[in-house]
Symmetry: C2
Subunit: 110 residues, 2 copies
DNA sequence: AAAAGTACTATGTATGACCAAGTACCTTAT
DNA sequence: ATAAGGTACTTGGTCATACATAGTACTTTT
């Protein structure tokens, strides 16, 4: 039981929310997301992001189209499906509630 | 992949933080915590809380003493060890960072 | 004594982040 | 042309943890 491990646990689920949110703002491919997540100190590695995208796609929340690139292999550009949009709305509420709940508890210091 | 499942994932890790925080405010036993967590809509059940407390105790973050009860079997009253206090401090920072990171991303709506 | 309630324990399942390689395709350098 | 390097994505495996479910042990109430 170390701190790093718990930090990983804290990120779970939140990551999914953040990724859906990034995609909701317009077409992006994996490296775009990785860049934004890293910039926000939401440390994520390839091995986490790609499987997550596949999972979300298989669940019908995302879809993608292949786009040729000038500097390398083609890329998968992701967008949200309607189902994905609804799901994201639900997650937004959950997240807000969670933050509030945590505040309620951690502000209870005597 | 349903919403409820993702909500569970979001709670993971945060729960540990909240529990440590509750204990940091003074001696409590499991039902006290359950009550406060439920009041904060941080839905938790016995089967989640007890193993978690045992895990934290085995990791050296918590200690307990048995206290007789007037209405039932004796109770384990928990307190934080020094190690637990340090751990909680680390978690506080992590949590604040996570909330900030998420804000950074979800406020980026164009 | 039996029933009901409280506090805690033990076992098993499912999910998802991360790791570590590996594949495939593209561009650039020699 | 061919080799080297980079980019984009895949795959298989491990580990931690929330939750479900069932069970133990002790207490008070009827």
């Amino acid at each position: 039981m170390n701190l790093e491990n718990t930090q990983v646990q804290m990120r779970k689920g939140i990551l999914e929310y953040c990724i859906l949110h990034i995609i909701s703002r317009g077409e992006v491919y994996a490296s775009d997301m990785l860049e934004e997540l890293t910039a926000a100190k939401m440390i994520v590695v390839e091995g986490t992001l790609y499987p997550l995208l596949t999972r979300l796609k298989n669940a019908g929340l995302l879809e993608y189209k292949w786009v040729e690139s000038k500097s390398g292999p083609p890329r998968k550009y992701y967008t949200l499906t309607n189902m994905g949009k609804n799901f994201l709305d639900g997650l937004s509420d959950t997240w807000k509630d969670l933050v509030l709940s945590t505040q309620k508890i951690t502000n209870n210091s005597k």
